[in-house]
């Protein structure tokens, strides 16, 4: 009897959690389809008017391009740096190895605001004030922890005898790494890159300190629209971002498995 009750409570808790997590997303999607110019629910007609408005928004295209460029460049840089760092942390034998590992993922635990202020101060002191290079460097800090974390986990499970095996079977060391280590660790690369990319794409607190009037990333541009004209255009854009995220997660699941992506297994 207690078993059944426990299952009932657990089931109810699950449903509540799902509703709590998903309801806001659902609201955004519904609002974006509403004909009303204010956030209003429920509505009785469907309309794509706010999606059409997206094309006419000033500066939107540029900010989308900038955000994707920064996210892509920071992800590529992080993959290179993060892989090497993860190998050093997992395979290296040096004092402070554990501390280095923690330090490399510490931006995940620090408030973005702190990183934003710190990078701003740091870049100013170096005399770097151009928006795009500052954004790029700062976003490497945002993306790198995701790559390092998944690769350290992947490498910890990686049997380096695989590389030895490939070498004894006739491949030179570099070829053995490319043909064995890279494909076996592919899920880690994909997972780290996807999460890092998404984190960079939606980063606000770091970017806000480094953008200028001409270079606004998407989240900053979005918030500004919201301040200027709070109509469902923003909801339409958000819906598109949700759709993109879902696509990315599905692709990630196919390649790496969602559990591994979330770091559950």
């Amino acid at each position: 009897m207690t078993g059944r009750l426990a299952r009932l409570i657990a089931g109810a808790a699950l449903v509540c959690s799902l509703v709590y997590l998903l309801a806001p997303l659902l609201v955004i999607v519904l609002v974006s389809l509403s004909p009303s110019p204010v956030f209003e629910l429920p509505h009785d007609a469907l309309s794509a008017v706010w999606y059409r408005r997206l094309g006419t928004l000033e500066g939107l295209g540029a900010s989308v391009v900038l955000s994707f460029e920064v996210a892509a460049a920071a992800t590529v840089a992080s993959l290179l740096l993060g892989t090497l760092a993860a190998i050093a942390v997992v395979r290296g034998r040096f004092a402070g190895r554990q501390a280095a590992a923690t330090f490399l993922v510490s931006p995940l635990m620090l408030p973005g605001l702190v990183i934003g202020i710190a990078t701003l101060q740091f870049f100013r002191s170096l005399g770097l004030s151009a928006a795009v290079p500052s954004l790029l460097l700062a976003h490497v800090v945002v993306v790198l922890p995701f790559v390092v974390r998944t690769l350290v986990a992947g490498l910890a499970r990686f049997d380096f005898a695989l590389v030895d095996a490939a070498r004894t079977l006739g491949l030179s060391y570099p070829l053995a790494v490319v043909q064995v280590m890279v494909p076996v660790l592919a899920p880690s690369f994909v997972t780290g890159a996807l999460f890092g990319f998404l984190a960079s794409l939606d980063n606000y607190p770091v970017s806000i300190f480094l953008t200028d009037v001409y270079h606004r990333t998407l989240p900053i541009q979005l918030l500004q629209y919201l301040g200027e004209s709070p109509d469902p255009t923003v909801a339409a854009l958000s819906t598109l971002i949700i759709a993109l995220t879902v696509v990315v997660l599905i692709v990630g699941d196919r390649v790496a498995g969602l559990n591994r992506m979330a770091g559950v297994a």
Partner: protein, 359 residues
């Protein structure tokens, strides 16, 4: 073993941070021979294997294979197959993909690869599983894939690093036979690393017992078991009764050793007064007083009696530095009971004698 072998290891030494792991290993292995490197963990056997594979460079010494000096050759140019302890199967490839790996690396044609893979699959009886991912295989099947992968490229030498240690006992025994039959049929020269003395004795043409970076004894399984060269080999390979004593008299190639359990005769030439260890294999011992001049024996109190079905183990109550183990057919154990004093005897020729280690 003075003529050059197929594999010729000369004075190979290796240190890790001031600690000598291999201390001048010299070993010649004939073509088609199966040699085991037997020893406890840390004896350097795996280090030697990695040096042979080219995964580790020796500090000094040379390795020649089929007349070629392997010294400067990286692993991928040696044509040496390795079966790893973890199997090291490529998880992103199928069974066939794993076996084809070395052939692809050698840039063979598609047709050559396909026919060789099919041949290897048939050889290890995994044909129906060709397209399975290796993660879905059982331990024994993975083992076979690892062997097939290593042999597919027709290596000049195959190195096996404790390949059976991950299998359960029953499967291990089956795989032992399978492995031995397969390698013999192919005439493959093999070096087999193991810490399991039974496995080494069962599989090998010759066994090299390794201890602290050196080969303590090299010989046929029977020679290693019957005539251990050192107390270490005696101890590591099989069981033994070992008693402390001192040489009381020496004459005509035999000595009399006084032990706490009576005088023991042994074929040896050691000076009178020297402290020695007297040893004998447990199954050489019978119950009863020595029957004639060719026999010798001791009398000691019995501590335990263990019934094992076909056999019976008796353990004597002796000093902490000594051991008294007797293995008898169950029917021959009689009524020897713990607490009673029994007479044990064996042939003088079976007595082993070693200088006592410094205390």
């Amino acid at each position: 073993m003075t003529q050059a072998g197929h594999l010729q290891i000369e004075g190979v030494a290796r240190r890790f941070r001031q600690v000598s792991v291999l201390d001048g290993i010299t070993l010649a292995v004939a073509r088609g021979e199966f040699v085991s490197l037997l020893g406890p963990s840390g004896c350097g056997k795996t280090t030697l294997l990695r040096i042979l594979a080219g995964l580790l460079a020796p500090d000094s010494g040379s390795v020649r294979l089929g007349g070629r000096d392997l010294g400067a050759l990286p692993p991928h140019r040696r044509n040496v197959g390795v079966v790893f302890q973890s199997y090291a199967l490529f998880p992103h490839l199928t069974v066939a993909g794993n076996i084809a790996f070395g052939l692809r690396a050698r840039r063979q044609t598609r047709a050559q690869i396909d026919s060789r893979v099919a041949e290897m699959l048939a050889m290890v009886q995994l044909g129906p599983l060709a397209d399975r991912p290796v993660a879905q295989l059982s331990g024994g099947q993975q083992q076979r894939v690892a062997i097939a992968r290593a042999l597919a490229v027709s290596p000049d030498l195959v190195l096996l690093d404790e390949p059976l240690s991950a299998l359960d006992r029953k499967l291990r025994e089956t795989m032992q036979v399978e492995l031995r039959t397969l390698l013999r049929r192919l005439g493959m020269t093999a070096i087999f690393v193991t810490h399991d003395q039974e496995e080494a004795l069962a599989l090998s043409d010759r066994v090299a017992v390794m201890h602290a970076g050196r080969i303590a004894q090299l010989g046929t399984p029977q020679a290693v078991y019957d005539r251990p060269a050192t107390p270490f080999v005696l101890d590591f390979v099989g069981q033994a009764t070992v008693l402390c004593g001192r040489i009381a008299a020496a004459a005509g190639g035999t000595v009399r050793v006084d032990t706490a359990y009576g005088p023991v005769h042994a074929p040896a030439a050691l000076p009178q007064g020297e402290a020695v260890l007297v040893a004998v294999r447990p199954e050489r011992i019978t119950l009863g007083a020595p029957a004639g001049a060719e026999w010798t024996g001791v009398t000691l109190p019995l501590a335990t009696r263990t019934y094992l079905g076909s056999r019976c183990l008796l353990h004597g109550a002796v000093a902490a530095t000594e051991r008294a183990t007797v293995e008898l057919p169950a029917a021959a154990a009689g009524d020897a009971a713990p607490g009673s004093t029994v007479a044990l005897s064996w042939r003088v020729a079976d007595t082993l004698l070693y200088p006592a280690p410094p205390a």
